[in-house]
């Protein structure tokens, strides 16, 4: 270890992305973002889904060229035209999802793709297995990882798999390592082991960029942070100067910008969806939940909180753990077909992969959940399908030259509208939606929110799983907050909103999501621009 520490202090490399702007067509994924990884430090890259984190990582690891902006290593401008040139410059990345060969051994997985890389003294290509083992063993020892080199990768536990991936990345002795949500699918104990490894890497002089949604981890392992929101950098600075709650506020943004889609009807209505003794996963505390007709219930929480599991169960996408009654009648849902039969229409988060057949035309997609309704004696009236789709095109203002265009030609927001049209057309009384506006631009988002409110106002019931606090504030009548797979609290959003000039719902949610402590015990400091400016000033002063 002492040797490593010496190496670390010798030279501190710095990899900097300066004023990066990246456009996907006309949509900006990043606007003038700065980010730097420094040897020996762990820099947290934070932000909600869709804020531009993954684009920034792609750019900094050579998977994508920025539209505008420069990358510098130790002050020298570099061009990363592809992933291999990034590797050549000492930049490595460990992706969120596992990229292991399940049938190969740990050793083979670590060596894979690195066989031609000279590491310290030996070329791995052509060297004996024994020599490979020696080299890998040396590396693991250096990283303070214990792994049985002969084990089959498929049999490893999740933390060990992550170790293998990190070790593989470290085979090339990179100076900069990007870890994209390395703990996303890990239990707290396994996550701890990975975090320890992150610290070891930093102590040895590696510059680590660390992406995570678990802010406790970020606070415990990182030195600095940068928060992105809506493609912009909203704050950066040393981590010790902010609390977890500060970070959440920075990530979710300012409630003052939210214009509510519409005020909800205030009269109490009967329960449409009654959930009893439902658990999001085996071993989680069961909960009860009632959703009134004509209202919008948003299930929220940090990523992985269990909110989306509830929605998936209601949609029939995964088995329902618990009991359910719809309009007072007890129902079983084992398949999306059952859900539709009981008037529940489900839209998954992954529109392209699971929601729509993107190569098929808009009108055909609109008909897929309602083929029985547009057919007689098993014969589909395709003219009627086209006419129906045309109607939805106008009603939902779907931007397309023709309903016969493939769904793949539409923007994210318009694809989501096609999803909604498909569910509307199946005649459901309840919509259950997962992240309905993820990857949707601002205008599409507000249009979709209005559609959902209209649906509720017309007597429908809407259940949305969302990690976007602004969305929660924008459309909800009721909010169910989930934490660690369990229901933490159910709120009537109007009463909270009315309580304190707009910002308190957000404050409240942040509090409940993070710790389960309700807003009253939190100090209600608003994350205003002044605070961001203060952090930036302090940063600049250094």
């Amino acid at each position: 270890m002492s040797l490593m520490a010496a190496a670390a202090s010798a030279q501190q490399h710095r990899f900097e992305a300066r004023s990066i702007t990246h456009m996907y067509g006309p949509v900006a994924a990043l606007r003038e973002v700065n980010f730097a990884v420094e040897g020996g430090h762990v820099h947290a890259l934070l932000g909600e889904n869709g804020c531009g984190k993954s684009t920034l990582i792609k750019i900094m690891t050579g998977a994508q060229r920025p539209t505008v902006g420069t990358l510098l290593i130790d002050g020298q401008e570099v061009q990363l035209s592809k992933a291999s040139s990034a590797q050549g410059r000492g930049i490595a990345v460990v992706h969120q999802n596992y990229h292991l060969f399940p049938d190969l051994s740990v050793l083979e997985n670590i060596v894979a793709g690195n066989a031609h890389v000279p590491r310290s003294k030996a070329l791995l290509g052509g060297v004996s297995r024994k020599r490979q083992e020696e080299i890998v063993r040396g590396l693991l020892e250096q990283l303070n990882i214990e792994l049985n080199l002969g084990s089959q990768a498929a049999l490893l536990d999740p933390a060990e798999r992550k170790f293998v991936e990190v070790a593989r990345a470290m085979m090339r002795s990179p100076q900069f390592l990007f870890l994209d949500e390395p703990t996303a699918s890990l239990e707290p104990q396994s996550a701890r082991r990975v975090l320890d490894l992150v610290r070891v890497l930093a102590d040895q002089g590696v510059g680590v960029a660390f992406v995570s949604h678990r802010l406790d981890e970020v606070v415990s392992v990182c030195d600095r942070f940068t928060v992105l929101r809506d493609a912009r950098e909203v704050a950066h600075g040393p981590i010790r100067e902010v609390s977890e709650a500060d970070l959440v506020r920075l990530m979710v943004g300012d409630l003052h910008q939210i214009t509510r889609a519409r005020q909800a009807p205030r009269e109490p209505s009967e329960v449409a969806i009654r959930i009893r003794a439902c658990a999001t996963a085996p071993g989680k505390r069961a909960f009860d939940l009632d959703v009134p007709r004509g209202q919008v219930m948003v299930l929220t929480g940090l990523v992985g909180s269990g909110a989306s599991d509830v929605v998936q169960m209601l949609g029939g996408s995964k088995p329902f753990r618990g009991s359910l009654s719809v309009d007072g009648v007890s129902r079983r849902i084992n398949h999306p077909r059952d859900a539709l039969r009981h008037g529940i229409g489900y839209a998954p988060e992954d529109r392209k992969g699971a929601g729509l057949v993107i190569d098929h035309a808009i009108d055909i997609n609109v008909s897929y959940a309602s083929l029985d309704r547009v057919s007689r004696f098993g014969v589909v009236a395709w003219r009627r399908v086209a006419a129906i789709a045309e109607e939805y095109r106008q009603k939902l203002s779907i931007r397309t030259p023709s309903v016969h265009s493939p769904v793949s030609s539409l923007s994210g927001g318009n694809q989501q509208k096609v999803m909604l049209a498909k569910l509307f057309n199946s005649g459901v009384a309840t919509l259950v939606l997962e992240e309905p506006t993820q990857g949707v631009d601002v205008r599409g988002r507000s249009q979709i929110h209005v559609l959902l409110r209209d649906f509720a106002e017309a007597g429908g019931t809407v259940i949305v799983a969302s990690t976007d606090v602004r969305e929660v504030a924008g459309i909800s009548d009721h909010v169910a907050v989930f934490r660690h797979g369990e229901l933490a609290e159910v709120l009537d959003s109007a009463s909270i909103r009315d309580g304190d000039a707009g910002s308190s719902l957000q404050e409240y949610l942040v509090g409940v999501m993070e710790s389960g402590v309700s807003a009253t015990s939190h100090d209600l400091v608003h994350p205003d621009d002044a605070q961001v400016a203060r952090l930036e000033q302090e940063e600049a002063a250094k």
């Binding site: 996907y24 949509v27 398949h335 039969r341 008909s367 897929y368 030609s409």
Partner: protein, 370 residues
């Protein structure tokens, strides 16, 4: 938000301009077929005689029937390799029943019944036991061959009732009964695929099984029925074989499944499922049949014919591949534009998505029309 007038304007323009691209895609194979026919009729005096044309249709009938069924499998992202020996076994069973009972009707029913059973077995293995269709139907392919040989000791079952020969010779408007039957089978399956709920479900399942499931489609039921259709068309192809050669043939049609897949793909149906049609398969079958006939007329040997047809198959498959790559590039990965444009400024992101849609389509028009 744009005014309604602006929207209709773009709509009309797009409809006018989008058509050449779609038409090109749709008419590509027929156009090649026509060019081939013109070439053959100019270079060869025999080609355009009614006798030769009827012969082409007659020769194509077995492949056509099997290919129409295979289209459903491929549209649904499945394969059925058991069609070849399955059809041979169907012809053997039908022939045995006819010879032993003297009844054509019982023979036909037995053959068809076997086809349904074969399809149901494949469907069961694929949907319930979850054996990949490639493996399940490959197994069935081998089993069918074994049964056919066991039933016949490798010999041909002849001595069919006289009605079969009469049927084989029967013509309407100069066209043999078998060709008429093939036409009827085409019309039925075309209707099922294009007009029925089941046909739409097959497209959905092949296009995106998860989206189909979440749309409430009983995916496994659809897949099961796909195999019942391929099994039934295999039996029909076996009966066509029986009519053509006046016997039950345990060793015939060995490669029929592969030829049918080739015909489906040449016709322009995507091996990835969810795109194509029975009508396209008809063109594919005709193209292969005319090509084969033309090569015959040119005096090419059987081995040379195989080489040419194999090459045509590969070319057709790669055309489909290139088309998909082209579409992928155009739609799914929006290219970063070189200059950041107006969306750089603060609140432009609202209109950005919608504008993008428009720009993308307009560039699409250019590439289509050029």
């Amino acid at each position: 938000m744009t005014t309604p007038i602006a929207t209709t304007g773009t709509e009309a323009a797009a409809k006018r301009k989008a058509q050449p691209g779609q038409l090109f895609d749709l008419l590509f194979v027929p156009a090649v077929l026509i060019i081939l026919c013109v070439y053959l009729s100019v270079t060869n005096s025999v080609f355009l005689t009614s006798g030769n044309l009827v012969n082409i249709l007659l020769q194509a009938s077995i492949l056509a029937i099997a290919s129409f069924g295979m289209t459903f499998a491929i549209l649904g992202r499945e394969l059925d390799l058991s069609v070849g020996t399955g059809s041979a076994l169907a012809s053997v069973i039908a022939a045995l029943v006819m010879v032993n009972t003297g009844s054509i009707l019982w023979g036909v029913l037995a053959g068809l019944g076997f086809g349904v059973l074969l399809g149901a077995t494949n469907g069961f293995l694929v949907t319930k036991v979850e054996v990949p269709s490639f493996i399940a139907t490959l197994g069935a392919f081998i089993v069918c061959q074994g049964i056919a040989l066991a039933l016949t000791n490798g010999g041909v079952i002849s001595g069919l009732p006289a009605g079969i020969a009469a049927f084989s010779d029967w013509r309407l408007l100069g066209i043999p009964a078998l060709v008429w039957c093939t036409g009827v089978i085409f019309l039925v399956l075309y209707f099922v695929q294009r007009k029925t709920v089941f046909g739409a479900q097959v497209m959905a399942v092949g296009g995106n099984p998860e989206a189909a499931r979440l749309s409430g489609i009983a995916v496994n039921r659809v897949r099961f029925l796909i195999f019942v259709i391929t099994g039934t068309t295999a039996a029909l192809a076996g009966l066509a074989l029986l009519v053509r050669v006046q016997s039950g043939q345990p060793n015939a049609n060995q490669l029929l499944a592969l030829e049918a897949i080739a015909a489906v793909v040449v016709g322009g149906t995507s091996l990835n499922g969810g795109r194509g049609s029975v009508a396209r398969t008809l063109w594919g079958v005709l193209l292969i049949a005319v090509l084969r006939n033309g090569l015959d007329l040119m005096g090419l040997s059987e081995d040379m014919k195989m080489i040419v047809i194999g090459v045509v198959f590969i070319v057709a498959a790669s055309v489909d591949f290139m088309r998909r790559q082209f579409l992928k590039r155009r739609y799914s990965e929006p290219k970063p534009s070189r200059e950041p444009r107006e969306a750089e400024s603060g609140d432009a992101s609202g209109d950005a998505g919608a504008e993008g849609g428009e720009r993308r389509t307009s560039s699409g028009h250019e590439s289509r029309t050029s």
